[in-house]
């Protein structure tokens, strides 16, 4: 399992913090627990906190200089490049048409040559060895009809391929589908975003979909028949291409569905949000949850409660609802808990509440490209305190 290493990184941070006298009570407890586990742990701690042994360990680390050894590995890689360009070790290879451009293998090596000098040095002596948490980005996985999974991120750019008469292009955090001819068989692809991820999709009929973090959408590579059906979990913003002859339906498994004809709307169906919210920006939609249905006009939001109650709100703040697809967080009198839910998904952090939290509400506009600190500032100014420890954030 990959995660066998993560607790180790945490232990290292704890030890360095204890050296700097910068532990919270909880951290000190954690460290003491670990020290009490075995003599080996104590010995390790001792090696790092005793001046003599620390010096010798640092001397060992110093023996391995990336800059000096770079030359050797650089020369070797030129030889490897010619080999890797033709070796494609991916399982989706089988359905790539002859015209497909395989940039991925070459891109990998190209990345190596242009990689920045990632020294990660701390420019000021700070109390916390870990500085800040970076925002999310264009990340997702694409699952093809045959089950093959492709990882999408910014290094997969300018990639094209064809599956059964449908051309697929991946560029700049967006995947575009284009039907090349008539095909009766409908095949489905699924895009899933992790926490900290987002992706954009352009379907065969011209419909645009923005997918937020921790969400997924299942859709046909090309529409045929007299309906256009997709399945959504999490949050998505849709700009449906107008086609009166083929109604567009978004199925929300376990919840209901939203029918649209040439419209723009946002659906928030996160399971941890309790209330499923469909907000209409433009056009017309029909929402159907269980036995209840309703129609929305622009500016209205349908809210489905866990109890099954369906409520329609007039004049909701559309900007606040769709801010995410425009690369922003917009909070208008939002309380800490709701703000943190959005933040948790984008910055991939786990939120822990230490005691009752202020019920104060906050307003602000912040770019989603900001580091976490920028977003937290809004609440810090209102007296809310945060403590970041790796991927966990405690709220006071």
């Amino acid at each position: 399992m990959m995660n066998q290493f993560e607790p180790l990184y945490t232990k290292a941070e704890l030890i360095v913090k204890s050296l700097q006298n910068d532990l919270t009570d909880q951290e000190r407890l954690s460290l003491n627990e670990w020290l009490a586990e075995s003599a080996a742990n104590q010995a390790l701690y001792n090696d790092l906190t005793n001046e003599a042994t620390l010096a010798s360990e640092l001397a060992i680390l110093a023996k391995f200089d990336a800059q000096a050894d770079w030359q050797k590995i650089a020369k070797q890689t030129i030889g490897e490049q010619n080999k890797t360009a033709t070796i494609v070790d991916f399982s989706y290879r089988k359905w790539l048409s002859a015209a497909a451009i395989l940039l991925i293998a070459c891109l990998g090596v190209f990345q190596f040559w242009v990689s920045r000098n990632n020294r990660n040095s701390i420019s000021k002596i700070s109390k916390h060895p870990i500085i800040d948490i970076a925002p999310g980005g264009n990340k997702a996985t694409l699952k093809l009809a045959d089950g093959t999974i492709i990882i999408l991120n910014d290094s997969v750019n300018g990639f094209q391929a064809t599956q059964q008469n449908v051309k697929l292009v991946i560029q700049n955090g967006e995947i575009t589908y284009q039907s090349l001819g008539q095909d009766n068989e409908i095949i489905y692809n699924t895009i899933t975003t992790p926490r900290g991820g987002q992706y954009k999709l352009l379907l065969d009929d011209g419909t645009k979909v923005w997918l937020n973090a921790a969400s997924s959408i299942k859709y046909p590579t090309a529409f045929s028949g007299d309906e256009r059906i997709v399945e959504l979990t999490g949050e998505g913003y849709f700009e449906v291409a107008h086609d009166a002859s083929k109604p567009f339906k978004v199925l929300l498994p376990g919840i209901g569905k939203v029918d649209a004809i040439g419209t723009a709307f946002n659906i928030n169906a996160y399971s941890d949000e309790h209330i499923t919210k469909t907000t209409l920006v433009q056009g017309k939609v029909k929402v159907a949850f269980g036995s209840k249905t309703d129609f929305l006009i622009p500016g209205q939001q349908a809210q489905l409660f866990p109890s099954g109650q369906l409520l329609v709100l007039n004049q909701v703040d559309v900007d606040e609802v769709v801010a995410w697809k425009n690369g922003q967080f917009i909070f208008k009198q939002m309380n800490v808990e709701n703000i943190m839910k959005q933040i948790g998904r984008w910055y991939e952090i786990e939120v822990i509440y230490n005691g009752p939290v202020s019920q104060e509400t906050f307003s602000g506009i912040v770019s989603r490209n900001s580091h976490l600190m920028e977003v937290l500032k809004i609440m810090e100014e209102g007296g809310v305190r945060f403590k970041i420890d790796g991927k966990k954030i405690s709220v006071y």
Partner: protein, 167 residues
């Protein structure tokens, strides 16, 4: 990527294999392997985990091969490499890198003294000679550096007991 993780991975490999050149080879091979399979990682953390795992496995293979060559039995090979041993080296590797980063951030003279003492293993007399300063200055700079880093370093192991007292 290479610059960020190279030295800690080599340190880790060296702790397991005890062979400087082999450690470098192992880590460099792992990087080559990483670069021949791009676009498969979902985060930097995933890359880091992959690199550590790959280095660990390569080191185990190296040791196995080494021991087998020396005609040890298979079961003896397993006991030589205790699971925990491997893992604790990762904690050290990560902690050392954090400490090194903090040292790099010190004011120039302080930093040089500390680097000579810690990274090069110079004694105070040697540092004084190297930097053309008095031994007293060396000691003062060291103290200052340790204070700036707010490092609590001990000379005696049993002081650890203080940390084990209940809150």
């Amino acid at each position: 990527m290479f610059n960020t993780y190279y030295s800690r991975l080599c340190y880790y490999a060296y702790k397991i294999t005890n062979n400087q050149e082999s450690s470098k080879d192992i880590v460099q091979d792992v990087f080559l392997k990483y670069h021949s399979k791009p676009a498969e990682f979902s985060s930097e953390l995933a890359i880091k985990n992959f690199l550590y795992l790959a280095v660990k496995n390569a080191c185990l293979n190296f040791i196995r091969h080494d021991l087998v060559e020396k005609k040890f039995a298979e079961n003896q090979v397993e006991t030589v490499l205790d699971q925990d041993q491997g893992l604790s080296h990762i904690i050290k590797a990560e902690a050392l890198v954090l400490i090194k980063q903090a040292i790099e951030a010190l004011p120039e003279r302080c930093r040089t003294v500390l680097k000579l003492a810690f990274f090069e293993g110079f004694k105070n007399e040697q540092i004084a000679l190297e930097m053309s300063i008095s031994i007293n200055t060396v000691k003062t700079q060291k103290q200052r550096a340790i204070q700036l880093l707010r490092l609590k370093l001990t000379d005696k192991a049993y002081l650890l007991l203080l940390f084990l007292l209940p809150l």
